[in-house]
Symmetry: D2
Subunit: 337 residues, 4 copies
Amino acid sequence: MIIVLKPHTPEENIKRVENLIIKKGLEAHIVRGQEMTIIGCIGDTTAIDPKLFEVDEWVDKVMHVQEPYKLANRAFHPEDSIIDVSGVKVGGDNLALIAGPCSVESLNQVMKIAKAAKTSGANLLRGGAFKPRTSPYSFQGLGLDGLDILYEAKQETGLPIVSELMSTEYLDVFNEKVDLIQIGARNMQNFDLLRQLGQIDRPILLKRGLNATYEEWIMSAEYILSSGNKNVILCERGIRTFETYTRNTLDLQSIPVLKKKTHLPVIVDPSHAGGKWWLVDPMAKAAIAAGADGLMIEVHNDPENALCDGVQSLKPGKYNELLQQIKQIAAVVGKTV
Amino acid sequence: MIIVLKPHTPEENIKRVENLIIKKGLEAHIVRGQEMTIIGCIGDTTAIDPKLFEVDEWVDKVMHVQEPYKLANRAFHPEDSIIDVSGVKVGGDNLALIAGPCSVESLNQVMKIAKAAKTSGANLLRGGAFKPRTSPYSFQGLGLDGLDILYEAKQETGLPIVSELMSTEYLDVFNEKVDLIQIGARNMQNFDLLRQLGQIDRPILLKRGLNATYEEWIMSAEYILSSGNKNVILCERGIRTFETYTRNTLDLQSIPVLKKKTHLPVIVDPSHAGGKWWLVDPMAKAAIAAGADGLMIEVHNDPENALCDGVQSLKPGKYNELLQQIKQIAAVVGKTV
Amino acid sequence: MIIVLKPHTPEENIKRVENLIIKKGLEAHIVRGQEMTIIGCIGDTTAIDPKLFEVDEWVDKVMHVQEPYKLANRAFHPEDSIIDVSGVKVGGDNLALIAGPCSVESLNQVMKIAKAAKTSGANLLRGGAFKPRTSPYSFQGLGLDGLDILYEAKQETGLPIVSELMSTEYLDVFNEKVDLIQIGARNMQNFDLLRQLGQIDRPILLKRGLNATYEEWIMSAEYILSSGNKNVILCERGIRTFETYTRNTLDLQSIPVLKKKTHLPVIVDPSHAGGKWWLVDPMAKAAIAAGADGLMIEVHNDPENALCDGVQSLKPGKYNELLQQIKQIAAVVGKTV
Amino acid sequence: MIIVLKPHTPEENIKRVENLIIKKGLEAHIVRGQEMTIIGCIGDTTAIDPKLFEVDEWVDKVMHVQEPYKLANRAFHPEDSIIDVSGVKVGGDNLALIAGPCSVESLNQVMKIAKAAKTSGANLLRGGAFKPRTSPYSFQGLGLDGLDILYEAKQETGLPIVSELMSTEYLDVFNEKVDLIQIGARNMQNFDLLRQLGQIDRPILLKRGLNATYEEWIMSAEYILSSGNKNVILCERGIRTFETYTRNTLDLQSIPVLKKKTHLPVIVDPSHAGGKWWLVDPMAKAAIAAGADGLMIEVHNDPENALCDGVQSLKPGKYNELLQQIKQIAAVVGKTV
C-alpha cells in the first residue's frame, strides 16, 4: 500500500500517519520529495481498508499495490486448477462443453436436447429449474420438478448437470443432485450465499456480475475458496455497457486477464451475452481462440416455442456444426476436446 | 406491444405471427407499409415475454409499449404514497432525514451520533450491523449485537432505526426490531429475498443496484409490492460508470423520473455515491432541490477512527450546518422538515 | 510517480529502472519490502508518459501521483477565475444564465425568445448556427446566416451571444462575432481545434465529452490554456451510461470535483443531459444547489414546431418561473444573480 | 416510425398528430386499443427527427423502425464491399494485416519493423505521424516528417501505408501520400472532417469512438459515403466501460453485428483496446475467429525505448508466431491470407 500525502504536510502530521501505519502492523518507508511525501507500507495489507488512511486530512490518496486475494491468486498457485465435475475435467487443456435449454420444460424436451448435444460432443448438460427474472410476472421455472427432470436426464445420458441456485433455501438439494452449481450474475455479490457455498464440495460455476470488475469477480471467488470449497469455475457472460443493440457486451479480454491473475478455469457463455442466436457461433469460436476453458451454450430443439430465451438458442444442427469448427480452433490453441 | 416484421415478409408468415399473438390472448392490428409490416398488439402484455416473438425469423424487432409494472405505476395510483416508518411519514411533503454511522461500533458511539443528529433535525437513525463487503477479509459488522445496540439507541432517543438486511436468515429479527429494512444495491435483484420481504409489513428501503435501469429498479419494487408489502421507499445511491474519481456517479435525474413513473417516495444517499465527505454537502442540497423525499447521510463523531467508510462521513457539526441549509432549500421546493 | 516492481525483481533490474528514472530527470527513492519493491520518483513528471516504464518486464504498475495539468490546477491558482464575457462576469459569486433556442431558425424567433429570457433574468443568449448531427440527413443549422441573426439579436437586446464552433474553418468569424465560443461534447478532444482556440482571446465554453473523465476534460482545458487563452468555462452536460430512458446521465458531482481541482467556472446544461423538458426544472435547481456557476437552458417560444430538440426546451413562461426559484436557491448557497 | 400516444388521448389530439405525420410526407395508420393508440408511419423516415413528434404532450414515445442509414446498409447492398488499398484487397475473404509502430520515430526504426512484418505476412504498414494525445505536454508525433519517413518505407518495401489524419489542414498531403487514411476514435464524430473525407477517393479507416453505439458508428461512415467516398473500412478498437484494468473493453460482438448491418469490411485493433502487449495475441486470434476482415497490430523492434505505447507493442518475433496461428484460424472460418 502506498500513501501519498498532500504538498507541504507538516512533519507532525507525517508522524501521525506513520504511527497509524505501524499500529496496523505494517512498516512505513517515507519518501520525501520537494512537492510531496510518499509513504510505502510494507506488510500484509489484505485485510486493511485503504480508506482508513484517506480520512486523514493530509492524505491525498492511498493506492493498493498488493492484490487483495490470496487463495485465487496465481502468484501463490502457479499451476492451472483442474476442476473435476463428476468425472469431467475442466481447466488445463480440457474444454467444458456445456449445452442445454435455458429452462427445463419437460423430460421429453430435455432428453431430446441432451442426446443431440452429447452426440455433437457436449460433455455437460445445463438447464434452468429456478429462473431469475426481472419481472415477478414472468415464468419463474419449474423449480424442484425441473431439477428432477434434469437428474433423470443425467441418469439416462451420463452427462453431469449444471443448474442455477438462487437461494440458500435449496442448497441441500442442489448439493445432492446437481454436479456443477451455477451462481448467476445477479447473485455474484450475494455474500451470504457465497459463504454457504464454501461449506460444500460441489464445483461452483460463478458467473460475472453485469457490472463486476475483474477484481470484484475474483473476490467473490475468494469468498467461496476462503470458506473451504476449492472448486470454482469462472464464467464470463457479458457486462452492461452503453451499447443496447446486444443484450450485454461480451468481454473476451477477461479470459487472458483472469487466467493471468488466477489459476481458476474460465469459461464463456455467448448465449446470454449477446441475446441473439446468430451471435453465438462467432463468439463461441472467438472465446476458444482467446483461450477459454469451455463454453456454455443454449441449445433448444424448438426455440420458437421455448418458454424462455428461445431467441438466443441454437438448434441442435447448428450446435453440431459449431462444435466441429470449435474442435479445429481448439487444436490451434492447444486445447483438446 | 408492437411487432415489426422484416421487409417482404410473406403473407403466410404474417398470418403465423398473428395467430401466435391471438393465442397469447391479445388482439393483432396489422399495418402494411411498402417496406415493412407492423403489428400492434392490444391487451395486457405485462406477463408476455417479447422475446417469444423475436424468435420468428421474419420478426425484425418487438417493442414493449406498456410499462411492465402495475402496482408501482403512478398511472394506476396517481397520488404520492406516504410511508409510515414507526410514526415518521416519508413521501408527499415530508422529508426523511436519516443519519448515523456506516457501521455500528459500540453503544456509546451510536448514542453520541444519534443524539447529535436528532438535535440537528434528523428523524431516523441508520447504522450497519451486517455489512456487505467485497472482500471476505474485511470487517463484516457486529451482526446481531449491532442490531441490539441500534435497538437500544432507539429506545433512548425515540428515533426509529434503519439497517441493512443481507439474507433471509435474519428476516424475523429484522422484522421485529428494525423500523425500516434496507436492501442494499448488491441485493436489488436477489429475487428470493424480495419475495420474502413482501410477506411482511415493515417498510423497505430499496437501494438502486449499481447497474440497474430505472425500469429494473421499479420491477424489484414490484416484486415486493406484488408479494403483499405496500411500504416501499426507493433510494438512489449512485450508479457505476467509467468515471472512477468518485466511487459512483450520483444520478439525480432518477428523482424526477421515478416520481413521474411511480408513486413511491425517492430518497438519496449522497455518502455512498461519491465516497468522499466533501461531496456530501453539495449533493445533499442538490438532491433536495431536485425534489427528493429525503436523505440518508453517514454521520460519525470520529471518522478518522471509524471501522468503515469514515472518509465519506460528516462530523456532527458539519451535518448540523448542512441541515440548516437543507431546510431553506426544502422550503423553496415545497417540502417541510 | 510511483513505480511498483514485481516480487523478487533482481537487483540489476531494479538498477536498470532506477537509471531510466534518472535519465528522465527525476530522483529515484527505492523502498524495499519483503514482497515488493517500490520506487518513488520525485520531480516534474507532467511530460513523462508512465507507460514508458510499464514496458519493463519487471515493472508491475506505474501510478501517477502528480496531477498532469498545471495551468488549470487550483493548487497553483487558488482563487476562482472570473471570466468576463463581453461584460458579463462568470465565476466567483456570479451566475451565468444562458438561454435561447437549440437552433437559430429566424430573426423573429430569436428576438422573441431573447426578449422573454432577458426579462426573466437571463444574461447571455445562446443559439445554434452550426449543428453537430449524428445523421448527415438531419438539419445541420443555418450556418453563417444563423450567426448573423444571433449577432443582430445581440445588437438589439444587449445580450452577449453563445454559439457552437465545429471546425477551424470558421474560427475567424466566430472570434469576431461570438462572445462565448462553445465547443461541443463531440469535439472536446479535437486537439487541433483546441490548440487553435488558444491563439485567440475569446472566452471558450468547453463542454464535457460524453465519455470524458474529469481529468481528460481538464486536460482539454489545459490545451487551450497552454496555447495562450486563459478564458475557459467548463460545462457539464451529462455522460453516457447504461441508462437509456434519459438521453444522458447528468453528473452533478462534477461541479464540486471540478471546482476543487481547477479554478475555472463550471456551468451546467440540463437541457441536453436529460433530453426531456420536464427534467430541466429539477436539474437546474439541483445544479445551482450543488454550486454551479451558471446554467445553459434551451428556451423556445414554439417547441412543437422547433427544427431541433423542441422536446427538451422550456417555454418562456416556464423558464421565468424556474428563474425565480433559482434566485432563491442561489441565495442559500451564496451566489448572486 | 411508430408513435405511441398516451392513454385516453382525445380524438382531436390524435387528429393533430396524424396531420403532422401527413405534413411530413408519411402515411399514418392508426391502431386504437383500449388503453392506448398507436400510429404506424409509413414512408421514408430517414431525414425525419422522431423528437419532432415527442414534443406533443399526448405523445408517449416515438420509435424508429427503419434504419437511419442507406448507403452503408446491407439491406440495399447485399454483397460484401471489397476495398482496394493500393492493390491490397480488404473485405470478402481477404484479410488486411496491418502492422507497424505506434509512432514513427526514424526511418531506420520504421524500415526494420516494416521488413520484419512483411516477412511474417503483413500486407499494410502503419505508423503514427500525428498523434492525438490527452495531454498537451506529451509527444505529439513527428508530423509531416513522419509522413515522409513512412512514404519512403513504402517505396522500399512495397507495403501501402496507413496513418492517422487529425485535421482537415493536412487532408491534401494525406490524400497524396497515405494509402489508407485512419480517422481516430476521438474524431469519429468530427462531422466536418468526415464530410471532407467524402470529397476524396482514398480509402478511409474509421475507428469506433470510445462511446459510440453501432448505429452512431455506421452513421459516421454514412457521412463519408453520402459525401461521395465509397471506400470505408470500419475498425473496432474497444469501448470505454467501468472496467479499468484494461485500457478499453474490446467488443468483438461488433464484428458480426456490423457485418450483418452493413456491407463494409470490419477490422480489429487489439493493441489499443487492451493496452497490454500480452492481450494482443489472444484477442487477435479471437477477432479472426469471430470473422474480422483484418487486424491492426502495433509492432516495435524496441518497445522498451518506444516514444509511445511500447507497452502494447509486440516484438517482431512474437508477431511472427501470432501470424502463423492466425493463418490456421483464418482457414477454419473461410478467410485466406
